[in-house]
């Protein structure tokens, strides 16, 4: 039997890696991928708690997180396509027209 703290630490490590990528990457698709890493870490933590407490609610919530991730990935990629069509680059530093 694996103690739950192992899963929680793994989830935290993955979440922090995703956060690191989100802060440090400049490519928009890489940012979206970092968000997906964070969502997966959260899924892992939910399922760990669900199996530790013997309740099914954690797994139901993972279901909803999956749906939201799908919707967000679809709309995010559509925005990426629109942005690429207009600016020819995916570097977020170059999309600074609103900057003073």
């Amino acid at each position: 039997m694996i103690p739950i703290s192992w899963y929680l630490i793994l989830g935290a490590a993955l979440f922090l890696l995703g956060m690191l990528g989100f802060f440090l990457k400049r490519n928009i698709i890489a940012l979206l991928l970092s968000v997906e890493i964070m969502l997966n870490a959260v899924n892992l933590t939910f399922v760990a708690f669900s199996s530790h407490n013997g309740q099914i609610n954690g797994q139901i919530f993972v279901f909803f997180v999956l749906v939201v991730a799908a919707a967000e990935a679809a709309v995010g990629l559509a925005l990426v396509i629109a942005m690429f069509r207009n600016r020819e680059t995916l570097n977020v530093d170059r999309s600074n027209l609103l900057k003073w």
Partner: protein, 162 residues
């Protein structure tokens, strides 16, 4: 034996997550993310949530990541060029800070006690379906609305001319 499996899948998950961040070309990052998703599905199976593990592969690795890979291939994106790296100090400072944050989490979590043996949970389709369609019916219907809105939004944003 099961600890060995956990260490193996956890190592694959951490390695592919680090690979997502390290690669310059975003296609290799997406392929590493697919590996991460299969490692997390394997960890779900270790926690007796096999229905969710298979759904994770079907939805996330089999559909969402295909969308990512499609967009990368259709836009024909080059590898990120090495320009002026204005974030270099931030990157050097960021890694120790993240490690410090991880250390704080480990210190909090390590003391969680498993005094009573866990009640057995069956992560089968029956258990999830029974709860999803009785207690959580309203969020379920709302997610269908959410997907419809996302569908319309994606089509509108990606059209060439409205």
């Amino acid at each position: 034996m099961i600890e060995l499996l956990f260490v193996l899948f956890a190592a694959v998950a951490l390695g592919s997550a680090i690979n997502v961040l390290v690669q310059k070309h975003v296609l290799y990052s997406s392929l590493s993310l697919i590996l991460l998703l299969t490692a997390i599905s394997a960890l779900f199976v270790l926690m007796q949530a096999e229905f969710l593990a298979v759904i994770n592969v079907i939805v996330y690795a089999g559909a969402i990541m295909v969308l990512f890979v499609f967009v990368i291939m259709l836009l024909n994106l080059p590898a990120d060029e090495d320009g002026v790296d204005r974030l270099r100090w931030l990157k050097l400072l960021g890694i120790p800070m993240v490690l410090f944050l991880l250390f704080m989490v480990v210190r909090t979590v390590w003391k969680v006690e498993t005094d009573a043996p866990a009640p057995q949970l069956a992560g089968t389709a029956q258990a999830i379906g029974a709860s999803l369609f009785t207690d959580y019916l309203l969020p379920f219907e709302l997610t269908s609305l959410l997907i419809l809105i996302a569908l319309m939004g994606a089509v509108v944003f990606a059209k060439k001319d409205l």
